[in-house]
């Protein structure tokens, strides 16, 4: 019984292995279901957008030349010849000295190249159309005008492949008329829980039994990353049961997570079950992060199979650090592993935290909000099998592998999880 049951690799080596799995194939998805997903193909504009020069303001369409030098103390005067329709190409043509009432979004008439905001004008008569408008501000050509093709040019790529579709990209796709989009598939992720001590959530535990916490926690995390969790429930701790369940889960999903066994025997069983599959290979047998060291990475065909640590706290950290990025990578996000994807808050560390060099430490942190100062970050210590520590925590502090720890009153990044 020696220390070091397996050789471990660094977090970045583990990430490099995960990046080796190819993103999923494309599928066609309705625009209304596309938010958060990733473009498999670039979006090529079928026409210029805007189609024509349009006003960004309520005001008067003018020729900039006609209002040159106008100001509060030196207003210009133009004759208003029309109130332009919002939904049609205007048939008005402005001659020098003329302007036309225009609403936000309205198409500029021929002869106009700018818009004066209504706030900078004054109608001299009761009726606007047919009357004289006082112009109190000069405008440059193009001012207050959205120009044809400013959002997208016909036949040019408006959004490149690999774009993660936020609400604003959904808006651009709508503007360009895409009712359907070619997106990378959403990963289906099979979840197996192993452990003879496990029972379903609906059952009452006898002494020694525990409910299957990990399936539910891991499924919620898979969903958070944009994947579709497919829980297979509890599998008995024997090679035959585990191999059969694993084979089915691999066939039916794009990736498989095995969870529940933290003891050495269960870890060995997980490795054996993966190795028993066709075209299987164990790629990593431990990763230098804490908690989370006993994580197994296998490949069956072209699909990743991960043995998560059995302790729920460790599994949560491994999910956030490695598996949520893997899921986003499979769904096509080219920056899936970038730390820029993490949601951070600055906080002041409440006390020293020691760390063992050679591994990355993820310390659970509870934030205490303070008025006018960054929140105070309290490390939440406690055994990794307990849920209390992760329920009390607001996020994680990351201590790099080359550091011996962090000092009280340091301003650090807290990764909100």
């Amino acid at each position: 019984m020696e220390h070091g049951f397996f050789t471990i690799i660094s977090r970045s080596e583990f990430e490099a292995l995960l990046r080796g799995f190819a993103p999923l194939s494309p599928e066609t998805v309705d625009l209304a279901k596309a938010a958060g997903r990733v473009l498999a193909e670039g979006l090529v504009a079928p026409h210029d957008w805007p189609l024509l020069d349009r006003s960004c303001m309520d005001g008067f369409a003018v020729s900039a030349r006609d209002v040159f030098g106008s100001g509060e103390s030196n207003p210009g005067y133009l004759e208003c010849v029309a109130a332009l329709p919002i939904d049609k190409l205007p048939d008005t043509v402005l001659s020098p000295g003329e302007c036309a009432r225009i609403a936000t979004g309205g198409v500029l008439p021929e002869g106009a190249d700018a818009v004066v905001m209504v706030e900078h004008t004054q109608a001299m008569q009761d009726e606007t159309v047919g009357g004289t408008i006082e112009i109190r501000k000069s405008v440059a050509p193009g001012e207050n005008v959205m120009q044809r093709g400013e959002d997208a040019r016909k036949d040019a790529e408006a959004l490149p492949p690999g774009t993660v579709l936020r609400p604003q990209e959904i808006g651009l796709a709508a503007a360009l008329g895409f009712e359907k989009l070619s997106l990378r598939k959403r990963p289906r992720v099979g979840i197996l829980s192993t452990g003879d001590e496990l029972i379903e959530v609906g059952q009452t535990p006898k002494p020694g039994q525990v409910r299957d916490v990990n399936t539910h926690t891991v499924a919620a995390l898979v969903e958070q990353a944009g994947g579709a969790p497919v829980p297979y429930g509890i599998v008995k701790d024997d090679l035959d049961s585990l191999s059969r369940a694993l084979e089915r889960a691999i066939a039916e999903n794009d990736a498989v997570l095995l969870s529940g066994g933290s003891s050495i025997g269960v870890r060995d069983l997980t490795v054996q079950a993966i190795e028993a599959m066709d075209e299987a290979e164990i790629l990593a047998h431990g990763v230098a992060i804490s908690p989370g060291k006993p994580t197994i990475l296998g490949r069956v065909g072209h699909k990743p199979v991960i043995g998560l640590p059995g302790q729920v706290t460790s599994a949560l950290v491994v999910m956030h650090v490695l598996i949520l990025p893997l899921i986003r990578h499979l769904m096509g996000d080219g920056n899936a592993f970038s730390p820029a994807r993490r949601c951070l808050r600055k906080a002041e560390l409440a006390r020293n935290v020691a760390s063992k060099p050679g591994r990355e430490d993820y310390v659970r942190i509870r934030l205490e909000e303070r008025d006018g100062q960054p929140p105070l970050a309290h490390p939440v210590l406690g055994k990794s099998g307990l849920l209390r520590t992760i329920v009390q925590a607001h996020g994680l502090a990351v201590i790099p592998a080359d550091s011996e720890g962090l000092y009280a009153s340091e301003l650090i990044d807290i990764w909100i999880v």
Copy 2:
């Protein structure tokens, strides 16, 4: 035509009005669908959790008294009397000088109060059970043991009402046996787009026409906040059509968003349509943020009705600043309006940004990543009717109402949106 078509209130006054709407009523939801939702009632533990003292490690269950003073240079020796089962209450009782093999998660036997990790032991014979174990490290009572009730105490509130259920809270609910939870309803949010110039995404625009961008953008934002968007499509710009559509949307939803009309006429129509409803009241007619000033807040019965600015950029800012928090507030999140809910990144401002005091400015920011330094924050300027500026931006910089702007090279918070 004077400046100031309506009286405007501050962002915090607008927020206070939004907080006045009551969170939605509870409903019963399956645990598998509960992530991201909010507890309507506290979760009271039906029993202690853990049920009994359990090991957090693979190793040997001992009485701490028996290994007091043990160390590398001065090991202790105990007789191993059993290998404990993982899934049952052990019938082993340890006498002084005895230990028992225990796996992670195993229940401690009578006579044991701590666990020595297997890494700190050495079996002196081939067979562990029946042999002598060398103990190379002392342990304190309770060490490496999850204690009965450490996660939750019988009949105590394990999670208070108002808790937002992250994956870890889902795990705790699973551990305590909750297959169903009492959660606040997910807000159904009706979305109406007004504008005679609007056409459906699937249609080809004639000059002057634009596709209905806002419905799709706003729906994606509602979903992002956890609400259920219910789009009603395009409504004609007349009081009768708008009133009928609004009446139906209010009846069928928990909140209604009207979008599309940025021109003064459409804003007036929105106000008239809201006022035409039974038990209706206009609560705010403008908010001191930029972009986003022409936002209308109404109340019909106990339901909020919001007139969004028609420009998509302005609508996006108003959604993030005010309406996503409103949706989270309606679904029970007591901290919905806290800036702590925002996902921030520190960045260095690339150039000066001026701001008009008296209103909060939300400046669109594109981040340029740099090695070993915070990213550089470039303001993305451009007309608020364009999608390009929000597609190019990674987030928003907030300039407070009492500030005249931000200076180049300042380290500022970028709100990722």
